[in-house]
């Protein structure tokens, strides 16, 4: 089945472009270290998922590009066209001349309603090109105005127009400092609105990816491109075709549907985090070997210790003993660090993945008490290696990963709100203090839900 990607704002467009690049280079650049037949069906599934075919033979991304200013889109379109291995549909983009100016209200209440028809038309056309539509994947940042404000609006429209399709929002969490000053307001508004209309939010934190670039990828002068490429790699490792369940003969039919089914058991819990392993510079790959038990051990510890990458994991963190789970509310320092999950999905790609033993992920202590670990944990795998990594594992987790950043963000936004700073910029476009209060309340609810897992 196919996924239609909606790229919103500068960030969304830059990342979207890298995602298609990563998928394309995975499909064309490697043979996947597997049988030819395997590789072919992988190709086919991947292509159907992300690209449509044009007469010329060049795959055309199933994407709609939306931005309120023209520069990024025109650049993205032309770079993609020049790459030769894939391109965007020339008509499938929408831009205006003047950006949203980092103002969520401007994107949501002004640009959204004004351009709704044209944007939704593009989306509809793209959706009609799919034989079977699995759903929508929107890529946006929370900090700016277009990605966040217009993104929240478009997500709502998608929900209304395609009630039967899934919507997964990929959201970029801004750097802690120094991107946009009103980023905390914008983020609070975005998250609270997405929580209403989206099926799940897949979150990448810029700070985390930046650290990965510096420590794992050894990049000295990190540019946004580097950051985006890491994000694209991680997304690719989740969205490329893979066998769900025990090993059927066909690649997953509804990639988004399967993802929601395994990871979002309750509408109150929609925040997904993504970890992958290994992650290293391409030229070190040749000198590295991996074993499944090693990768899985690391990945599990990353999960329970809430580590963002394989370096610097706190190995002291242990799941709480079955008997002592009640007092954890009074938070001994250890259980504070322990990351409780609602649901986890591990994706293994590469040689011998059948030999991998994931028993350690099925420990009931890892999960909230109201779910059965058999339901809460899922494993998908394929022998087809991903993007030059002989073996790789990705973990998508619905857990307390984001609790702390979310709490911080809401705290900072509240602090600013209490002094009424910048509010006039929002009321100018019709977002009143009431709306802010609603959003704060909604997010406090999310925080408390995750806290009491």
């Amino acid at each position: 089945m196919s996924i239609v990607t909606v790229q919103l704002g500068q960030c969304g467009n830059q990342i979207g472009h890298e995602v298609f690049n990563a998928i394309c280079s995975d499909v064309h650049g490697t043979h996947g270290l597997c049988s030819k037949k395997e590789n072919e069906s992988y190709h086919e599934a991947s292509k159907e998922r992300f690209f449509s075919e044009e007469k010329s033979g060049v795959p055309v991304a199933r994407a709609v590009l939306v931005d309120m200013e023209p520069k990024v889109i025109s650049q993205t379109l032309s770079i993609a066209a020049r790459s030769g291995c894939w391109k965007y549909d020339d008509r499938s983009h929408f831009c205006q001349k003047q950006g949203s100016g980092n103002n969520w209200a401007n994107g949501y209440s002004v640009h959204g309603p004004k351009h709704k028809d044209r944007i939704m038309n593009l989306v509809r056309k793209e959706a009609e090109k799919c034989d079977r539509l699995s759903g929508f994947f929107t890529i946006m940042s929370m900090a700016g105005g277009t990605g966040s404000g217009l993104g929240a609006f478009v997500t709502q429209c998608l929900k209304d127009a395609f009630p039967a399709s899934f919507i997964l929002n990929h959201v970029i969490w801004p750097y802690g400092t120094g991107e946009v000053i009103v980023q905390n307001y914008n983020s609070v508004l975005t998250l609270s609105h997405l929580y209403r209309s989206s099926d799940a939010l897949l979150v990448h934190e810029n700070d985390v990816i930046h650290k990965i670039c510096a420590q794992l990828m050894n990049i000295k002068q990190i540019s946004f491109r580097d950051v985006n490429q890491v994000i694209a790699h991680q997304l690719g490792s989740v969205f490329q075709p893979i066998y769900t369940g025990a090993g059927p003969l066909h690649y997953s039919r509804s990639p988004l549907g399967d993802l929601m089914e395994t990871l979002v058991p309750h509408p109150e819990f929609k925040m997904l985090g993504l970890r992958n392993i290994p992650q290293m510079p391409e030229n070190s790959l040749a000198y590295s070997t991996f074993s499944w038990p090693g990768l899985i051990k690391h990945l599990r510890q990353m999960l329970i210790a809430n580590a963002t990458m394989e370096e610097g994991i706190d190995w002291q963190v242990r799941p709480p003993r079955p008997g002592s789970s009640i007092p954890s509310k009074h938070s001994t320092s250890k259980s504070l660090h322990f990351n409780t999950s609602i649901a986890n999905l591990v994706l293994l790609r590469g040689k011998d993945m059948h030999s991998a033993d994931l028993g350690s992920f099925q420990d009931p202590a890892l999960y909230t008490s109201w779910l059965n670990p058999q339901d809460a944990f899922n494993l998908w795998k394929t022998p087809r290696a991903f993007n030059k990594y002989e073996k790789s594992a990705a973990l998508v987790s619905n857990s307390q990963f984001l609790l702390k950043p979310l709490d911080n963000l809401v705290g900072k936004a509240w602090n600013m709100f209490a002094s009424k700073a910048y509010i006039h910029q929002y009321t100018k476009f019709g977002i009143e203090e009431e709306d802010f209060l609603d959003s704060f309340t909604a997010l406090e609810q999310v925080i408390s839900s995750y806290t009491t897992l």
Partner: protein, 602 residues
């Protein structure tokens, strides 16, 4: 900042609608013909007219206008008599060590004017007000803004072509000839510049400066439809500019603004460039500001205001400034205050550096600050070129991210969104670096970090203020050139501990990355700070105002103008006092945060 706009098809993705700044502020600098620069790739401030080699000449010679500096000066003289203007000294370079041009016996103050310029998506209004001493050489009026556009022509040209090409894919326009350049960009034929018209309105109530511009190298960029002049000046009287000329020229100004705005297909912003101390710039300038608010309420209004210094030679400048401040408080979206003294100090430092021989041999001829002059020698002769040029560069850098591509774009509307937490506190202290590290070496990291440190040091600020020891409400870093996020992050982390941010905005940083550096540099930085350090400037102004006002000195000059009443003065001073009080309240919060706890909501 000038973006070109072609006639039938549009070339650049943005079409700037900018009125070019008028005369005063933007004096076009007269370059020797040999250095005639090719057309700027304007995106924002110019619109172009295609159409053969015929250039619509601004008709400087036709009767309506006086011809050169002489006419202008004569007019000025008349005015001075008529209006009993306080004696004008050639104010200038007060600095020791820096010799003003030898020909400055007369040093005509160049009249300020108001220039409304429109940028990409903005229109610039250049008003008179620009009361900055101008160089005396009649033939070469310094003009910063246009210059900006011209000095980095090569780059602009190539960038422009790139844009045109890029946008060609999805807009029907073809590339426009006007930015097409030869291999090295040097041979853009001189004729082509005439196809560009500045999106600017030049307003002055006398004619000298405007006429000089019309004779300068940028004459082709303006035509008579963009000029509004009178002959008698405003006599350093805010009331004359605001009330008298305001009424008289209102229709004319509105019409010209509309015409210019009609050429923009996405008008985003007006730039008003004026001075605060005089009559036309401060009076008529703020009048234009009000007009803009009425006529184009959706369009942002950025004001670059040159504040008088303590030793200002205009006796009534405190009155004018305070009266103008009230208008700025109420009607501007952002104000970039600038003090001549600061500019002068900066120019002086560059000059010393060049002369010390340390860097002399390596200073690039067309580097940032010296670009208008074309050579360091000319800088010596025309100090105000260099000073005006700093402002020009300020506006260039301010708009670069809206004009060029980059990995983190920053549009103009993001500036007020991020930097103005409360509507009235919209005064932004700016600093430009590198200013006198003019040598350009390929981004060795130490030098890059130095650029960030300099941006926060006292002597790089464009007003006399020390942001480091005051309270930051918000800070923006607009970086151009080969700089990546990691450089930004490293420097923010490094500098943050030494700066005080208001409790509710501890992470008040906004950043923009534009990949196109200014000509002659590998990178540059414009820091904009909403900082309580502007307060002393305002307090000093208030003090000087009170000194006069207590004695009612010179009041009669104002009160005999229709519509001017004493209440105007009391309202203006209370508006200023309120503003100062708001800054005081923020300063008082410098301690621990006082917000109500989050939980009180629930």
């Amino acid at each position: 900042m000038l973006l070109p706009q072609t006639h039938g098809h549009s070339t650049s993705p943005f079409e700037p609608a900018c009125l070019t700044p008028g005369p005063p502020c933007a004096r076009l600098s007269a370059h020797p013909a040999s250095t005639a620069h090719p057309p700027p790739p304007t995106d924002g401030i110019f619109h172009s007219r295609l159409g053969g080699g015929e250039r619509p000449r601004a008709k400087p010679a036709d009767g309506t206008f006086h011809r050169g500096g002489e006419g202008g000066r004569a007019a000025r003289g008349r005015r001075a008599v008529g209006r009993a203007r306080p004696p004008q000294r050639p104010s200038p370079p007060r600095g020791r060590g820096f010799r003003a041009p030898s020909s400055n016996e007369e040093q005509p103050l160049s009249p300020p004017s108001l220039c409304v310029a429109a940028m990409t998506q903005s229109v610039l209004v250049q008003g008179k007000g620009w009361r900055r001493p101008q160089p005396s050489t009649p033939s070469a009026p310094p003009s910063p803004v246009p210059d900006l556009c011209l000095s980095p022509p090569l780059q602009w040209a190539s960038a422009g072509t790139r844009w045109a090409a890029a946008s060609g894919t999805w807009r029907c326009g073809s590339t426009r000839p006007l930015t097409r350049s030869g291999e090295d960009g040097r041979d853009i034929s001189k004729g082509k510049i005439c196809s560009l018209k500045a999106r600017a309105l030049l307003i002055d109530m006398e004619e000298g400066v405007v006429n000089e511009i019309l004779q300068g190298p940028l004459r082709d960029v303006f035509d008579s439809r963009q000029l509004i002049t009178d002959v008698s000046g405003s006599g350093n009287n805010w009331a004359v500019g605001h009330k008298l000329y305001g009424c008289q020229y209102q229709e004319n100004i509105v019409e010209k603004l509309r015409k210019t705005a009609e050429h923009c297909d996405c008008l985003q912003c007006f730039f008003i460039i004026h001075s605060m101390g005089g009559g036309t710039g401060s009076g008529l300038g703020t009048f234009v500001l009000n007009l803009l608010e009425d006529e184009f309420p959706e369009v942002y209004r950025f004001v670059t205001s040159v504040y008088p210094s303590g030793e200002d030679d205009v006796i009534t400048s405190p009155y004018n400034s305070v009266l103008a401040m009230k208008e700025l408080n109420e009607h501007a979206d952002c104000v970039l205050p600038i003090e001549n003294e600061s500019l002068f100090d900066i120019v002086n430092k560059i000059h010393q550096m060049v002369n010390s021989g340390k860097l002399g041999s390596i200073v690039k001829q067309n580097s940032l600050v010296t670009s208008s002059a074309g050579s360091t020698k000319t800088v010596q002769e025309k100090p105000f070129d260099a000073m005006n040029n700093i402002i020009a560069n300020l506006l260039l850098n301010l708009t670069s991210s809206a004009r060029f591509e980059g990995s983190l774009n920053m549009d103009l509307n993001e500036i007020s969104m991020n930097l103005v937490p409360f509507p009235r506190l919209h005064y932004l202290v700016s600093s430009l670096t590198p200013l006198y590290t003019l040598t350009d070496v390929n981004v060795p990291s130490r030098r890059l970090d130095q650029m960030f440190s300099d941006a926060f040091s006292r002597d790089h600020q464009l007003i006399q203020a020390d942001p480091k020891h005051s309270l930051y409400l918000a800070c923006a870093l607009l970086v151009r050139g080969n700089v990546q996020v990691s450089d930004l992050r490293r420097n923010i982390e490094r500098l943050k501990p030494s700066l005080h941010f208001v409790s509710w905005n501890q992470e008040g940083w906004k950043t923009g990355l534009c990949s196109v550096p200014p000509v002659g540099h590998s990178h540059s930085l414009l820091a904009l700070a909403n900082n309580t350090c502007v307060k002393p400037t305002f307090m000093e102004l208030k003090e000087r105002f009170m000194k006069l006002y207590k004695k009612k000195a010179h009041l009669h000059h104002y009160l005999h103008i229709d519509g001017m009443e004493q209440s105007c003065f009391s309202e203006a001073i209370s508006s200023l006092s309120d503003l100062i009080e708001e800054y005081n309240e923020l300063d008082a919060t410098k301690g621990p945060g006082t917000g109500c706890p989050r939980s009180c909501l629930y």
